[in-house]
Symmetry: C2
Subunit: 764 residues, 2 copies
């Protein structure tokens, strides 16, 4: 029950949101949750991770591969498709435990009787290039059936077309569709092989589709299997066409059941590292699992050259670009459950350092200014005009690209979190140290000294609250710059003490510019907006408190066009205190140990009613910090809103006239953060796991496995007791503290019980 | 001929622009060039200098007084007014030599025959509170005439009403209208006395109007006189009502002709100090005189508490506020012709220093940040939302108020120019030094140090080109900040050497904050955008060259609504290289000695086609600098455009949905600058008058008087000869140089002839 997502009828209006809801994928590709007969108009897509193309002057975006699982049915000469025929019954479901998608549709046969069509499919987690499907028909009256199946090369593109020189071939029973991308001339090949479990077939071909006709007998089940494989020029093993062909042949040899079994085994292993049990809340249980599922189907398990885009692999929205979402909202999940993926995500930033260096240089800064929208090269895909004005139709100048400088700090934060959580400091030697220092150097060149106030300031930035662009001393950004500088210094210390030779080598590369001395100067003089002594409020940025005080309903009542952008030069929110998303409150989460509970509470209460949550990255942070201040029930609705965003499909679909639909991996990661870091209160600082449970009132317990510094632990958290079990195979002990007690070590194979001394409110 | 402006027919469409074109005034009040029977709907207005009021939350603006010259005619029961009756003939003219307005209108008498109505009026330059008018009727057939005359209390207001507790009285033959302003409760009183030069009158009264009826005989001329006087609570001599009543009684006793004579005498004297003769260009001659006329009717000759608003005294547009226009565009005229007015203008800034201090403090800066829109107190009348978005009707956030920091430098520039031109350094002791130092202190607190580039920068400003707000290192602004710092240091040196005691006293007041040491530090480290070594171009601000390159016609073709604002967050010009007005080129004019002719020419040629001239302050600067680079004929069209702006009425009337019509004193001053400082090439640096004639091709000579450092000189400039004649009464000699020759002294009563060595092109 808590593993299945299901729709029991067909609703045309939900075709696009169901495409997101029923996503499958394996990190190499995403397969939208469309039905077998769907094409480009229904946004069917096989989105490839890390393969980008620019068509003409349009936005650069990921490439969608031809769809090797396309299948349509014709019965007695009439096309059977939910798009054309009202089905008698229809069911679409996703088994998130093993990432298998199923549909079952019952059609009326025109001449009488019914036809039951089922299709099951998965993107293999064991063979990342392979898609497999098992399909059946059964009818209650004899009829003639044609199965039109093969490869649909008419791919959906937002800013396409990306595939040129398309060729289709039929070779040894295998259909082959190949093309090259326009910009980088990357070959893309899809192979398909259909295996029919019954005879009496008449076969004809049309392009990359075959038509298989047979006379079906009432009551019989006709079963067939489809194997598709996708390779591109980025896969270095050989020629994509040959690899794809070999892959489908090999898949067919193994057979569907064996492929599925191997796929299931991988998923079982994945879940064993992260599945989180919530006692007392079935809805939250499903939503949380679903959030983890969405993260796992897009996680790069096999490549350190790609990261996770803001809309995952659900299409080309947001240019398939990687934002700060990855480090700040998704990384924590992987840090606790799959350090290998976490490492790949951070290696992606290391591989794209040159792009970040180019961007810094472009703006006249030193070091590395990471792309706001990062693709394969690390050059910024973000344009200076990222939203259209709905009133004039004109592109609107936005400052996402120029001024969200916190991105460089977010990358550093992610790398350092990785080091803290895994203890794997090899990442620093593999390029991490360079990234950290180049980012610190960037901030040194970005900072200005105010001679009257005798402090360094970070001017002209956009913080997380994008409705207020071009602000000075954004509290969030300044705090992250400070952290970057601290990390830059700590990194040098760590390397010097553990890897003195490598350190000397690296140090030499950095002597020609601002380095540790300058970082120290900036760190010591950096201005950090602090809580007001009376109100305890931290001002989001200089003069934020001078902005118009207006309620959200009042501001909404001023809306003229429902898609109008609230930020930018003339946006409705721009001159008010209304924020798009958690900003100061996110900072309080990140640096929780630097602020008292009173400060957190005062700022939560101040900013919460002023937050529009125009980003799916917002609600989870309010949930997290609500738990942190001991008010999980304030946070619970925010948690649920975050955890169900891709289930309900209730998210913004447009900004200006720009389509922004798709899945929401940052919200998926945020839901996990709220549940585990917030409600279960798992807080690891690299040395001690502090457990501060703050369970919503109807939750009895949370139980989950975590992987920390290479050790496996199982945690069970209730209101008054925490049980920690360390795997026998762990190599060392780890310190745990709970309910404010002193830390205790938990060695390999040991069990630790921490109990609430007296039933009082959770302490901060 | 070259002294008269005339319309020979009546055109309803020109009522408003003619109200500007036919302005009279005397610095105490402006009287719009409306006809006698006009009222608020025709924008009749008596705008009072320095009297401001705010009604409710609307914009604070000057107070218009009731119109004491209102007169309407009724003939045989029918109203005679150009608004209601098509006149047989109509003439409106302005004699700018003596500032007398005349109209003559011929109406058809309904029962047959014609009636000729004439009215002459002036705002007395001898008695600043007095308006006087002589009117006549003459008819070709007997008829019954009613003259409705008195005070029209229905004043035109943009953001009114401003007059409360209105009272009307008839006392000793004098009509009296009085009221108080809403905000400051200032009394405003207008008295009126009509004297009829004929008998047989029947009199009735209605409010502050009287109806005088008589039977007119064909061929007779019926003449009457009107005297009106205006006083307010700001006039410290006594109660406004009594003063006004006494003033009209006294005026009537003197009689119209004597009043007119006294008025003419003052005007004669004024013209003797400035009239500039252009040989070879009658159109330019009239336009230049007209420009000087417009400046003289609004110049504060009797008060150092008011300055000249951006729309002069032609109404309430731009809140009747004083902008940088005064120092940068009008002051030069007065510095060369009327140092007393120049001193008053600068004293106004000294009196409003506290307002500037308050504004600096409001934004967290030190020193004095002068108001972008300054009224009586020096507090900023500029709002944060100064333009409405025509597409949404919403107020648009603009940064005029926050970021046009050059205003403080402009004030300092003006004060120092005054000292240079007059030698009257008493102004420094009267508060000028305090203004200079407070402005320098403001910039010290505004500047930031860039530790990588090792320089101070001026960030986040708006320069003269208001289409580009929030820019860094605007070349114009940085150059003016530098000048401010230099002046601050020079001022200290000057005072220390000449007034050591006063200096010690002043110095003591400034020790508690950044002062000379800090000014020197900033001056030495300040970044000034310099000409590119290859292109010679000076970048208007950081990253200006990265903006979209687009032609003006192309940009115009993108306009959707003709009143849309081109600047602001989403303006058409904002993201392009198109500028509103001279910015770099204005800087080249101000600091001409710091740049080679090649640099000036390269920048003129680059920026000129990219300038929209959306401000009336723009064209004159291109004329000036064209002359400076020896291409006066490039500049001539810009000069004429500037000099005729109030004659043709061809200027922007709307920005967004904001009415901005009125006179253009900055353009008037700019026209004078282009002719005298540009074409005649009169360039005084406080020590030597450098004469660099660059006459347009059809100009034979320019001849004008100037007053410099207390001495009177007459200059006659031709292409190859300059003749300087010093008044016999001068106290000292002054150095003159021309055609690049070494300077020669010209003592009292002497004549100096400078000749072009050989007929070559004018040198830079």
């Amino acid at each position: 029950m808590s593993w299945t997502v299901r729709d029991s009828s067909f609703d045309k209006a939900r075709i696009i949101t169901n495409g997101n809801k029923y996503m499958t994928g394996n990190g190499y590709m995403g397969y939208r949750g469309t039905l077998e007969e769907f094409g480009r108009d229904q946004l069917a897509a096989v989105t490839l991770a890390g393969v980008y193309d620019q068509a003409g002057e349009r936005w650069r975006e990921p490439v969608n591969a031809p769809n090797g699982l396309y299948t349509a049915l014709v019965c007695n000469g009439q096309r059977l498709s939910v798009l054309e025929t009202e089905p008698l019954d229809h069911k679409q479901e996703l088994d998130i435990r093993s990432a298998v998608h199923r549909r079952e549709t019952v059609y009326r046969i025109p001449e009488g009787g019914e036809l039951i069509y089922t299709a099951e499919r998965f993107a293999s987690m064991a063979e990342l290039h392979v898609l497999a499907s098992r399909q059946t028909v059964k009818c209650t009256a004899d009829c003639r059936i044609t199965i039109e199946t093969g490869i649909d090369s008419e791919v959906w593109d937002i800013n396409g077309p990306h595939l040129q020189d398309k060729q289709e071939m039929f070779k040894n029973g295998v259909l082959l569709a190949s093309a090259v991308t326009g910009e980088l001339q990357l070959p893309v090949a899809v192979a398909e092989l259909s295996v029919f479990g019954f005879g009496g077939l008449k076969l004809s071909k049309a392009g990359a589709l075959r038509r298989v006709t047979f006379d079906a007998k009432a009551g019989e089940i006709y079963e067939w299997f489809k194997y598709a494989a996708v390779y591109t020029g980025l896969d270095m093993e050989g020629a994509p066409e040959e690899l794809a062909e070999q892959a489908v042949q090999a898949a067919a040899e193994k057979g569907y059941r064996e492929l599925l079994q191997a796929h299931r085994r991988v998923w079982e292993e994945r879940w064993s590292r992260c599945d989180c049990l919530i006692e007392g809340d079935a809805a939250a249980q499903l939503a949380l699992r679903y959030s983890m599922y969405q993260l796992m189907i897009i996680a790069p398990t096999a490549s350190e050259k790609v990261s996770i885009p803001a809309r995952g692999l659900s299409g080309q929205v947001y240019k398939g670009a990687v934002f700060w979402d990855t480090e700040m909202f998704m990384l924590p999940f992987f840090l606790h459950s799959d350090p290998g993926v976490a490492r790949n995500l951070m290696m992606y930033r290391i591989h794209t350092l040159d792009g970040a260096r180019r961007k810094a240089a472009e703006y006249g800064y030193l070091g590395a200014f990471y792309a706001w929208e990062s693709q394969d090269s690390g050059d910024d895909a973000c344009t200076l005009f990222n939203v259209n004005d709905v009133f004039t139709g004109r592109p609107m100048r936005t400052y996402f690209r120029d001024e969200q400088v916190h991105i460089s700090a977010d990358v550093v934060h992610g790398i350092w979190q990785y080091i803290q959580f895994t203890g794997d400091d090899s990442l620093l030697l593999d390029g991490g140290a360079g990234v950290i220092w180049e980012c610190a150097r960037f901030f040194y060149s970005y900072a200005y000294y105010n001679p009257v106030k005798e402090r360094y300031e970070i001017l002209d930035v956009t913080g997380p609250d994008e409705y207020h662009e071009r602000v000075n001393n954004n509290a969030f950004t300044n705090a992250l710059v400070k952290e970057t500088l601290e990390i830059a210094l700590s990194c040098a210390e760590l390397l010097e003490s553990r890897y003195p030779e490598s350190y000397r080598e690296l140090h030499r590369q950095f002597t020609g510019g601002p380095f540790l001395t300058e970082f120290r100067t900036l760190l010591e003089g950096l201005y950090l907006p602090r809580p007001d002594p009376d109100t305890l409020l931290i001002e989001q940025f200089d003069r934020y408190f001078q902005l118009e005080e207006v309620t959200l309903p009042e501001l909404r009542s001023r809306v003229i066009n429902k898609n109008e952008y609230w930020g930018g030069g003339n946006g409705l929110a721009t001159t008010t205190r209304i924020l798009k998303q958690a900003d100061v409150v996110l900072m309080l989460h990140l640096f929780k140990s630097a602020f008292t509970k009173e400060v957190k509470q005062a700022n939560w209460e101040f900013y919460e009613p002023r937050t529009e949550h125009g980003s799916s990255l917002s609600a989870c942070i309010y949930a997290l910090v609500a738990a942190e201040i001991g008010s999980p029930d304030w946070g619970y609705p925010y948690f649920m809103r975050t955890a169900t965003v891709d289930l309900t499909g209730e998210s913004k679909q447009y900004v200006g006239d720009l389509y922004i639909g798709g899945t929401h991996p940052a919200a998926n990661g945020g839901a996990w953060m709220a549940a585990v870091l917030g409600f279960a209160g798992v807080q690891f600082d690299g040395a001690t796991v502090c457990l501060k449970p703050a369970l919503p009132k109807h939750w009895q317990s949370v139980e989950l496995p975590v992987t920390l510094r290479g050790g496996q632990y199982s945690l069970r958290v209730t209101r008054d007791e925490i049980v920690i079990t360390a795997a026998a195979g762990n190599r060392e002990a780890l310190a745990f503290a709970g309910f404010g007690s002193p830390a205790e070590l938990c060695g390999p194979g040991a069990e630790l019980r921490l109990r609430l001394a007296e039933p009082a409110a959770a302490e901060n």
